[in-house]
Symmetry: C2
Subunit: 387 residues, 2 copies
């Protein structure tokens, strides 16, 4: 048996957590109605706005990212409302389910898993909607299930031209990994979760709400209580929360946001970009096929096909031999792909390490030569060393 508790988390969440953040997490709790806690809420709220590049309110919810996405939908829409849902992966599918559960009329724009949504399809449907019946466009920026990133910049520009429809975007694995300029792109609702780029454990989710989104809440007739965002907005005015928040996760959030500010947005985005390029190019050097369209690779997850090798067995070997946890394929992709998360608190060494582990496993399976194993590290290093 291997030495315990030296796990390397290379999955798209939970992501690794810095020591400093774990220490903050383990402080004795304080009262959530105290001045000290209000100061923390003030600090994290401001830094969340910085991270989102926005002046909009960014609210913190105790719950998973799904809770934040649901909140965005049920606070701004009403039963029978027509919405466009982009679907090219498991999370896109989930938002279709949520929309239908709440009685929305869904126009689905889809594409095969691993291929990006076509922005022109959004444009066409939005332009044809002269009566302005479409109330929202719901989509996933980075599809965690496939490692694809959708072209949110272009799609959001078409939503803006429609003028009426709100954008409701799952940025769970893009925020804090690549550029998501909320104000510049005029994104109305942006949802994300703590166990991703934020570098803290799961349990918190975040939602950015534009003025237009708040106006829509006035018309929304879907029932809600715990996820009623008006309560959160009202509480935020006094740096508070409507219900007891996950106090210790807020300690952690405060610390991690400060670390992110120190690193700077540009550096964070560059780091993720380099890791994406190193990982994907190394995979190709190892004769592995990328599952996602190479022009649209997510900054945070690389999905890799294993061909005739059982991907679950492959993952298991890497876990047992190197104590590195990779993610498997979901649904019909189970056994066919594995996914490497390079999101949040990941450094260059982690990337070289996971590439080496994959190489050695392929070598042992007789799938590559020693020469190829060497080349994978060389090519990865080339991308990592670029500035």
């Amino acid at each position: 048996m291997a030495i315990q508790q030296k796990l390397s988390l290379m999955i798209p969440g939970p992501t690794p957590v810095p020591e400093k953040v774990l220490q903050a997490l383990s402080k004795h709790p304080i009262g959530h109605r105290s001045k000290e806690f209000q100061d923390l809420v003030e600090s994290t709220s401001k830094n969340l706005q910085w991270l989102h590049q926005t002046q909009n309110d960014v609210l913190t919810i105790t719950g998973s990212g799904t809770a934040a996405m649901e909140a965005g939908i049920i606070n701004t829409l009403s039963k029978g409302d027509k919405v466009i849902c982009g679907e090219n992966g498991k999370f896109g599918e989930r938002w279709v389910k949520v929309a239908k559960e709440f009685g929305l009329e869904v126009i689905k724009i889809d594409s095969a898993w691993g291929t990006p949504l076509n922005p022109e399809e959004f444009k066409k449907i939005l332009e044809e909607d002269q009566k302005k019946e479409i109330k929202a466009v719901i989509l996933t920026h980075s599809e965690t299930s496939t490692g694809i990133i959708n072209d949110l910049e272009t799609i959001s520009s078409y939503i803006r031209e429609h003028k009426t429809a709100l954008s409701i975007v799952d940025c769970v694995t893009s925020l804090g990994a690549c550029n998501v300029p909320v104000d510049k792109w005029q994104l109305d609702i942006v949802a994300s979760g703590s166990q991703k780029g934020y570098m803290i454990p799961p349990g918190l989710s975040f939602i950015s709400m534009s003025q237009k989104a708040w106006e829509a809440t006035e018309k929304s007739n879907l029932p809600k209580f715990y996820l009623n965002l008006k309560s959160y907005k009202k509480s935020l005015l006094s740096n508070s929360n409507p219900y007891t928040p996950a106090v210790n996760l807020i300690f952690a959030l405060d610390e991690s946001l400060k670390m992110m500010k120190e690193e700077g947005l540009e550096s964070i985005f560059l780091r993720h970009k380099k890791h994406k390029l190193a990982m994907s190019n190394a995979a190709k050097a190892l004769n592995l096929k990328l599952f996602a369209n190479e022009k649209y690779l997510s900054p945070s997850i690389t999905a890799i096909e294993t061909g005739e090798i059982d991907a679950e067995e492959f993952r298991k070997t890497i876990k047992n031999k190197f104590d590195i946890l990779l993610a498997g394929g979901q649904d019909h992709l189970k056994g066919k792909i594995f996914r490497v998360g390079h999101l949040g608190y990941v450094n260059d060494r982690d990337i070289i390490t996971v590439i080496s582990a994959i190489s050695k496993t392929l070598l042992d399976l007789g799938k590559i030569t020693t020469q190829q194993a060497g080349e994978a590290v060389v090519i990865a290093s080339k991308y990592l060393e670029e500035n």
Copy 2:
């Protein structure tokens, strides 16, 4: 300025967290779909059943106690359903609001804040409901806002006699503090939260669901997704979660439940009972009036009237001088009462300490004699030393 970070939390939540639990909290996260995590879910689920004294499923939700109560309501009821809501404090009020938000027809049984709900009123209305139109009885066991405990044992017996109505009970500050035998009392839905008797920080909530409650979910037509308990039930079959759970809080939960098992239910209940008696009798010895009816004192919160003294000023003095955080009165009780939480990880010394702090503050205000201050400690000790 006082030495920092030696705060004593004597509020009804967040409650103090044991060192061991904080250490568990700060471990590096692991994958929530891993075998290691499944083992944890299996262990915590079994121990949650132990704590609830039930064979029912006890589900864990990432969210506050309000999320669990809302889940209980929206998973088992439908728009227009008739329900009884017991209301004698802020939390009772909240469940009325939730019920109304989801279009339920509410029959309110109320009593003044600080007085218990009258079980006979429940009996009468339930007996008169020959057509079995009442689908649920929603009530709060221990009213955190007033320090009263409602007679759940008797009320639940009347609900059982009705046969159709479900019991949906907020046991947030009673579970893990006094006897709540879910199977014996045949409680259908019991909601609670992590930052209370569980001795872990806020962020998780729990919901126990009886077979009858699960049957009711089949008829419920209220829309829900994140709080759809069927998803949680399905995941629990494989010791998993439908959405990324608060992994580190589960580490903490596992540790705290083991500590609770070691102490034993009887000992935990006795400890809370002794603390309640020590605190309330010391308050009386200090000429302070208990806000709640003395026959129905909550095991976890003592609400104390301050008469002509401003309760907020009093709390502030205790905080500044002794670094002890007490809770204030809510809504119309603000400034009129303070509340001492003696819930979860609280020992006899904490009780003596808070009594001494209150005594000294009253002495400084010229409200009591030194003799009385001494008597308060003597009488408290008498209760603490009883077996």
